[in-house]
């Protein structure tokens, strides 16, 4: 059967035709054609180790190249608007582009744009557009703040210098994103030319930005605007652009001010138009967190300290987080106060309120968040009675058990104050002082800074408690007396500061309140109060509406300066803050028994409650520090001192009164403690604002069942740890007094008080970090050990316990079988349920639906948790697949974690408390109050120039020597000269300074250079502001001129900061030999005194001819001459010189550019270079005659004959040796003249005749021989010719015979041979 089957099975036949076969064939053929290596490349990968290594290295290179240094992502959740700078040369279409962009995003047309314009461009993005003017100062400033730059290029003209200048500025100050925009493209008629131009410009642009940088083409104008689609595209590009963090900006907070207000009183300005102004600058905070009271730099203006930072309601908020595709019309907000959008138009001398018909106005009600402000205003509006009547009706009991006092009662004892206008000479500010008739002759205070306060205080303190707000030690801190009606059933000020006022009201009899004369309308008052409240309110609900009102009021005030109230109230927005500082003063006074101050005693009393609160603090402190001092003592001291402090010398009477009061109070101190303590504890950092009103309330109602409260509080205090925040930072922290830093006095006093309660708290106690434990002796070992036994590894591990963890794990991961023991562990039932079937759950639900939902929920949560853990596990494993994670990865992860922690840490706090901890976050709309601004800033204000408020880090506000590495810009025409002033742009600043160029020698000596090298970096030192190392530097020679040259002179980077420099230049001192011995010589004229010589003893000297020597010792005469030894004898004609190095001083010029203060902002000119001055005044130096070039005359050189030394000669071979006696030529002339005898003469004559005959004969013979020879030659020739002829004849015969013979022979052989061969032979 099987056999049969096997036989019946058909054998497989491979396909011969068709698609499949073709495929297969193609495959095989391909295989055949390929080499083995091609076929299976993996098999050949590791053929060469070297190659492998190279490949690996390259792969790693590529990988590493992609990595960037990771940084902690500090971008806030709601980022500030992106600053888009629109930059370009004049007449290139910047304004048009800006208008078009605004129109594109907001559908609004803004005709006259000035200053920054903030718009909402998308669901998650806002833009601040700024058009940059053409002067280099603006360009520098904008490059420092812009996140994105639209660089406009006139294509019809090509690149202009400004473009490249700006690009270079950007490169120095951190490169923001740059997008080129080509305009004026419609000028090209020829299409090809257009294309070429575009290409050319694009490539040039790419070389400067980066290859592939985006370049936009705006092809032409339609009705004076760019084409809609193109602008739309540009807008979309801007909206999706991503930005890199720039080093400088992530570490330095800054504000591009979009609104400016002059807060100086008009009266001050009237009296002294040049007085320093207090200015409020508004804008979005960018960069890093800004802490209160930080020092800032305003480029073009100078360094200032921000007096007050307050966050305002965002005028241009992002839309709500709803899922929508696009913004609706309402959300397309625009905010540009300088341009008159946003309700207010700022002009030189007036403020206009735009009530405009646009939708902008409608949104305002939405912006006002319903808060205390609103309620307050409405409550004021609703009030039926006037303050006076309310005051009269109210009654107050000052102490427990005392009879309530009504206002009329107090009236009898005090007469009301009268208003008086006081102008502070120093600050030029006007105040209204309340003068009491009795105390006109007030005492004097010593401290001058508090002079303006003193008068007030003297006036107030004696009879009647009155609230005065003062800022200790601050010359121009505003001071104000506030009068507010307070009725129990009426409105309350929802602020802690107001408890002062309340107290005061309590103490102060109604009717006699020193209410300033209400010259303003009641409406104004309301506004004032509202204003106060807004500021005090921690939420700070300052919205547009409010501001508008304020401004409105201000305008009215300006119109009639006599009505001061409104203005005053406006101006002194700080008042509440000051009061908070004030609160701290009393406690501080406790220590400084002798200190004299000038605060109103009355306010002391008014703040009794507060001081009690402080005492409770101090008590806690003492608890902590285990002090033995009783509270009573402290308090006594404290209260006494308070008084001492506050009234100064004049009011002793009151002192005593006060003391009595105090004592009384102290009797009941326990109860009060309780009360206050309770409040303290209620104030947790998170709910400061919410709690503060309660405190006010408490202050009012503290009489109610005090004993009960006291016991409660005491118990609570026992149970709880003290509120440490309050203990450490005191009241200030609670109330966020931003002024505290300004007046150190206040800050100081507060601090020392705290210590006084501590063990070593006194100001003159032992300064030691060690804090011995006094209880240590008391406690026994066992006692302590029982308390800490779980601190040791031997103790209980709690949740970390391995056993417990195991249990938990089991619960989490369910059952498993231990293979070793064979035990089966099962998960708990709950787990089973959730993993098990749905049926069970359903059943359960049926049974008791109410309970199960919660159970179900927890189960679900657990499941989720489990899933999450598993996923994390998987992720970790997956990422670590390739041999563990790299350093880069782990670093990145670490920083990521840090970023998360940064975000999460203060997330759930209220804004004000948060601001205290971490400063004001970027993205907030803040108002910065800057005092002491030059008046020109306001009078010459021009919104089209950027006003940047850049914060400075600690240390950056000081000046020192800054060493940097500079290189002359390769496009700058000339090299730069040492000591020529230069304008630097470093950090936020622009300033002029005098640089010294130097270069470091090999022995680390900094040697001065006269000029910058042409193409080389050189080190440069200036006296200037301390800026962190690594900050970019840019220099220009002047900001005023607009020459055609490239204006950027150098670029570089800060290298080092120091308080001293060591740059030297070479100095050669010359002298002349006085007397010369063998190797010693006396040198004169080098030094002037023995002392000088003594300083140079041992120095190396040298002559011009190169003989080296040393200075030995001074000689007596002539003065300054010295003995020196040389390596050889010098000549009297030699000049001796010594090389010395002379330190160079860096000129201390630091001149900040004050461009913003000028009327014409681009016309700033500072110190001029010498060259410039000479050129302007056409001064020419007379050159030294020695320096002039003359024609060179050269004499022919004459060499001396060569002399070979004798010793050398001896060794020379004979051939080259100069011969000893060379044969001298015989001089004929030297022979004596022979005078012959007559006989001899005859003989001689005969001999001469014979000789001549002989000679003649010889000559004839010679002639004959010659002739004969010639004849013979002729004969010979003839013979030869004959013979040749003969030979020729014979030869001819022989050849002819031979020819004949040959032919005969050939004929004979010709019978058998061919004819051609015969021919051939011939």
């Amino acid at each position: 059967m099987s056999e049969f089957e096997a036989a019946s099975q058909k054998p497989h036949r491979a396909r011969q035709h068709g698609r499949k076969q073709e495929k297969k064939k193609a495959k095989t053929t391909q295989d055949e054609n390929l080499s083995a290596k091609q076929r299976n490349p993996k098999a050949f990968t590791a053929q060469s180790a070297v190659r492998m290594a190279r490949q690996y290295r390259r792969a790693q290179d590529v990988k590493t190249k992609k990595q960037h240094i990771p940084y902690v992502d500090r971008t806030p959740l709601e980022p500030p608007p992106i600053v888009v700078g629109i930059v370009g040369p004049p007449k290139v279409g910047k304004s048009t582009l800006m208008q078009c962009l605004i129109k594109n995003f907001t559908k609004q047309k803004l005709s006259n744009v000035q200053g920054p314009v903030t718009i909402v461009s998308g669901k998650k993005r806002r833009l601040t557009l700024f058009e940059c003017g053409n002067d280099i100062s603006s360009m520098i400033d904008i490059a420092k703040v812009a996140d994105l730059v639209l660089l406009l290029i006139d294509a019809s003209f090509g690149f202009e210098m400004e473009i490249f200048e700006f690009l270079n500025i950007c490169q120095v100050h951190g490169f923001p994103k740059i997008m080129g925009v080509l305009t004026h493209l419609d000028h090209f008629k020829n299409n090809k030319q257009l294309r070429n131009t575009k290409k050319r410009l694009k490539h040039r642009f790419w070389t400067d930005v980066y290859p592939g940088a985006k370049l936009f083409y705006l092809s032409g104008m339609v009705y004076g605007e760019y084409q809609k689609t193109e602008i739309h595209n540009l807008g979309r590009f801007i909206s999706v652009m991503k930005f890199r963090q720039l080093q400088w900006r992530t570490t330095h907070p800054y504000v591009l001010a979009d609104r400016m207000e002059d807060l100086t009183g008009p009266e001050d300005v009237r009296q002294n138009p040049k007085c320093d102004r207090t200015v409020a600058l508004y804008g979005f905070l960018r960069g890093a967190h800004m802490r209160a009271n930080s020092s800032v730099h305003i480029p073009g203006c100078g360094d200032f300290v921000v007096q007050d930072v307050s966050m305002l309601h965002d005028p241009c908020p992002l839309p709500d987080k709803e899922k929508k595709r696009a913004l609706n019309q309402k959300e397309r907000l625009i905010y540009a106060p300088f341009s008159g959008v946003g309700g207010i138009v700022y002009d030189k001398d007036a403020v206009y309120i735009d009530l405009g018909g646009s939708h902008h106005h409608q949104k305002e009600p939405e912006q006002i968040t319903p808060g205390s402000t609103h309620e307050l205003v409405s409550s004021i509006i609703d009030t039926k009675h006037t303050i006076d009547t309310k005051m009269a009706a109210s009654e107050v009991s000052i102490f427990r058990g005392s009879v309530p006092v009504t206002s009329t009662q107090v009236e009898s004892s005090a007469s009301g104050p009268q208003e008086e206008m006081v102008t502070d000479e120093t600050t030029g500010r006007t105040r209204r002082r309340a003068v009491f008739e009795e105390e006109e002759e007030g005492g004097e205070n010593s401290s001058e800074e508090e002079r303006d306060d003193e008068e007030d205080e003297d006036g107030m303190t004696q009879v009647d408690p009155e609230v005065s707000f003062r800022t200790p030690g601050d010359g121009h801190a505003s001071k104000k007396r506030k009068v507010t009606g307070q009725e129990k059933d009426g409105y309350t000020f929802a602020d802690s500061d107001d408890d002062l006022e309340v107290d005061w009201d309590i103490l102060h009899p109604p009717g006699k309140t020193p209410v300033p004369k209400m010259t303003a309308t009641s409406k104004t008052v309301k506004t004032t109060e509202e204003e106060d409240n807004t500021d005090k309110d921690d939420d700070s609900e300052d919205d547009d509406g409010d501001e508008e009102m304020d401004v409105a009021m201000e305008t009215t005030k300006e119109k009639n300066p006599s009505t001061q109230l409104g203005r005053d109230s406006l101006r002194t927005k700080n008042a509440p803050r000051e009061t908070t500082t004030e609160v701290d003063v009393p406690k501080t006074m406790a220590n400084l028994k002798q200190d004299e101050g000038s605060a109103g005693i009355v306010e002391q009393k008014a703040k009794k409650v507060d001081s009690k609160a402080e005492k409770s603090d101090s008590e806690m402190n003492s608890n902590m520090s285990d002090s033995s001092g009783g509270e009573d003592v402290d308090e006594d001291a404290g209260s006494e001192l308070d008084d001492d402090d506050d009234d100064g010398d004049s009011d002793d009477e009151v002192d005593e009164e006060e003391d009595d009061d105090e004592d009384e109070e102290e009797d009941s101190s326990i109860e009060e403690y309780g009360d206050e303590e309770e409040k303290d504890e209620r104030i947790t950092p998170d709910e400061t604002s919410a709690v503060l009103p309660l405190e006010t309330e408490g202050a009012l109602k503290w009489k109610e069942n005090l004993s009960q409260k006291a016991t409660d509080a005491f118990l609570r205090r026992q149970a709880d740890t003290p509120n440490l925040r309050k203990l450490v930072y005191g009241r200030v922290a609670e109330d966020q007094s931003s002024d505290e830093e300004d007046d150190e006095l206040g800050g100081l006093f507060k601090r020392t008080t705290k210590k006084s309660e501590g063990r070593r708290g006194g100001p003159n106690d032992l300064d030691c970090a060690k804090f011995p434990i006094t209880t240590g002796e008391a406690r026994e070992f066992e006692e302590i050990y029982d308390l800490i036994k779980d601190c040791f590894v031997t103790g209980d591990w709690g949740t970390q316990d391995a056993k417990r963890q195991l249990e938990e794990d089991e619960a989490l991961y369910g059952d498993f079988e231990d293979l070793e023991t064979g035990e089966t562990h099962t998960a708990q039932t709950e787990e089973k349920e959730e993993e098990g079937g749905e049926d069970q759950k359903d059943n359960q639900e049926d049974q008791n639906s109410g309970e199960t939902t919660s159970v179900d929920k927890t189960a679900q949560e657990k499941l989720l948790e489990k899933k999450r853990k598993l996923k994390e596990l998987f992720n970790a494993e997956y990422d670590n697949e390739e041999g563990g994670e790299s350093y880069y990865d782990s670093l990145k992860q670490e920083l990521e974690q840090q970023a998360q922690m940064n975000r999460a840490e203060f997330e759930d706090m209220d804004a004000e408390t948060r601001a205290q901890y971490e400063g004001y976050r970027p993205g907030m709309y803040v108002r910065l109050e800057v005092p002491g601004m030059p008046c020109e800033f306001v009078t010459n204000f021009d919104a089209s120039y950027p006003v940047i408020v850049g914060a400075l880090m600690s240390g950056e506000d000081s000046v020192g020597y800054v060493q940097m590495r500079l290189k002359k810009h390769r496009w700058h025409k000339r090299i730069l000269k040492t000591r020529d002033p230069l304008i630097f742009s470093v950090g936020w600043r622009r300033f002029q300074s005098v640089p010294l160029y130097s270069i470091q020698d090999h022995n680390m000596r900094n040697r001065l250079l006269k000029y910058t090298p042409e193409h080389l970096h050189c080190s440069t030192t200036i006296w200037g502001p301390i800026t962190p190392q690594g900050t970019g530097i840019l220099c220009v020679q002047s900001v005023g001129d607009r020459s055609s040259d490239f204006r950027i002179a150098t670029t570089g980077v800060v290298v080092e900061l120091d308080k001293s420099v060591n740059i030297v230049k070479k100095l050669k001192l010359t002298g002349y030999p006085l007397k010369i011995y063998k190797n010693t010589a006396f040198i004169k004229d080098m030094f002037n005194s023995i002392l000088e010589v003594a300083k140079f003893e041992g120095a190396t000297v040298r002559t011009v001819s190169g003989i080296r020597g040393t200075i030995k010792k001074a000689i007596k005469a002539p003065e300054g001459a010295f003995r020196a030894t040389f390596e050889d004898k010098i000549k009297l004609s030699d000049i001796v010189f010594v090389r010395t190095w002379c330190p160079v001083q860096v000129p201390r010029l630091y001149n900040p550019l004050t461009t913003l203060l000028l009327a014409e902002k681009d016309k700033w000119s500072g110190m001029k270079t010498v060259g410039q001055l000479k050129f302007e005044r056409s001064i020419r130096n007379n050159p030294s005659q020695d320096s002039l070039y003359k024609p060179v005359e050269r004499k022919p050189q004459r060499f001396r004959p060569l002399r070979v030394p004798v010793k050398l000669q001896q060794h020379l071979p004979f051939k080259t040796k100069p011969k000893q006696n060379p044969a001298k030529p015989v001089k004929v002339m030297d022979r004596p003249v022979v005078i012959m005898e007559p006989h001899e003469r005859k003989v001689a004559a005969l001999m001469k005749a014979l000789r001549s005959v002989h000679k003649d004969k010889k000559a004839q013979e010679k002639q004959k021989v010659k002739e004969r020879y010639q004849n013979y030659r002729k004969l010979l020739e003839k013979e030869t010719a004959k013979r040749e002829a003969r030979e020729k004849q014979s030869k001819k015969k022989v050849y002819s015979m031979m020819t004949q013979m040959e032919t005969k022979r050939k004929k004979k052989q010709g019978l058998s041979h061919d004819v051609p061969k015969m021919g051939k032979f011939e």
């Binding site: 006194g762 032992l766 060690k770 506000d957």
Partner: protein, 379 residues
């Protein structure tokens, strides 16, 4: 001139207490500071020798600082320059131990232009100040957490007990450009206790007696205890006799808590110290320190907080035991000089676990000011 900005906010304080804090913070923040009324009511008014010595030390490691002391010495004006560091030698006044100077130096060392290599001479151990052993054992591990790792060392070349001193230590510290933000919140469990018992110019047996007694107390808590003895003779032993013990408890997470006790100096009032009492006292103090707990030793609290505040602009966290008055004041000074405020939370022990870990701990959180070393040279 532009220095107006810095001159305008001079901080003013009174009294000689916390002088070091103020001068150190002034140096770091580059703000001038004026300290008035230094012992103005004292019989011996004005700055004392040890403070003068400290001011001199400060002058030595800075460049361009200006110090003005008025005639009576009751007012000090200090305008800081830039920290220079480098190799310095300083003879500390014997009134206070080297620890007094070293604590301030540790605060400044990471921000110098050149890495600091300081040789300090004077009293190494006394009863008032932190001893150098203590700082070496507890502070240096703490500094490492902030990224100061390489070349961080404190070498005690000679010991010198109070009152005459004669000791010498060499402190070296690196100067990174920035400090790392830290998260020191995990206390762990104490795994070992180490100690150093020293004896100078007394019988070498003294150290052994101290060890014996200290072990007697501590052995009941933990078994891993080792106390080194350090007996110095001759030149190395300084000028005065003395002995003492420094104990350090190390946890599984590297937290170091220490305590110390030193003998009463020669010539002081009272009975001479018995080594056994000293050993027991130090061990008990260690237990007290453990009771106070926290991840930073009570002496080093201020240093940890300073470096947290001066870190990058990131959140740093540390869990401390109860704050000492010195630390509390330091926090206030930090707010004055750097405007840094710490978030202070009290950590409550979990109710369900009920572990006996001593006093309530305090968690301090802050965001650094992004302080960079302005003096260091970059290439």
């Amino acid at each position: 001139m532009a220095s107006s900005g810095s001159n305008s906010h001079v901080l003013t304080y009174e009294g000689c207490n916390f002088l070091r804090q103020r001068l150190v913070l002034a140096t770091l923040s580059n703000r001038p500071v004026k300290i008035k009324k230094i012992r103005s009511k004292d019989a011996n008014p004005g700055v004392q020798d040890f403070e003068a010595s400290f001011i001199r030390l400060l002058d030595r490691i800075t460049n361009g600082s200006r110090i003005e002391v008025n005639e009576t010495g009751t007012t000090v004006y200090y305008q800081p320059g830039l920290l220079h560091g480098g190799k310095i030698e300083h003879d500390c006044n014997e009134q206070r131990a080297i620890g007094y100077y070293l604590e301030a130096l540790i605060c400044l060392a990471p921000f110098t232009k050149e890495p600091l290599h300081a040789t300090l001479r004077g009293v190494t151990n006394d009863q008032v100040d932190v001893s150098v052993d203590y700082l070496k054992a507890t502070c240096l591990p703490l500094l490492q957490q902030f990224g100061l790792i390489a070349n961080l060392d404190l070498k005690i070349t000679k010991r010198g007990a109070a009152p005459e001193g004669g000791g010498e230590v060499i402190f070296t510290c690196p100067n990174p450009r920035k400090l790392r933000p830290v998260k020191i919140t995990d206390f762990g469990k104490i795994k070992r206790i180490r100690g150093w018992a020293f004896a100078t110019r007394v019988s070498p047996q003294t150290a052994n007696r101290i060890v014996e007694s200290a072990r007697g107390v501590l052995n009941r808590c933990l078994t891993d205890i080792y106390i080194y003895t350090d007996h110095r003779k001759g030149q190395q032993g300084g000028k005065s006799p003395g002995f003492g013990l420094t104990l350090v408890a190390e946890t599984t997470t590297g937290v170091m808590l220490g305590s110390e006790a030193v003998s009463r100096p020669k010539g002081a009032d009272g009975d001479p110290t018995v080594p056994e009492d000293l050993g027991r006292g130090a061990s008990k103090l260690l237990l007290e320190e453990i009771y106070r707990g926290g991840c930073v030793d009570s002496v080093n609290q201020s240093i940890a907080l300073l470096f947290m505040a001066l870190g990058d602009q990131d959140v740093s966290k540390a869990v401390l035991g109860p704050l000492t008055p010195y630390t509390i004041q330091f926090l206030r000074h930090l707010q004055d000089f750097f405007k840094v405020m710490f978030k202070i939370e009290t950590l409550k022990a979990d109710d369900d676990t009920e572990l006996c870990t001593g006093a309530d701990k305090i968690q301090l959180t802050c965001i650094g000011v992004g302080y960079t070393n302005l003096s260091k040279k970059t290439s």
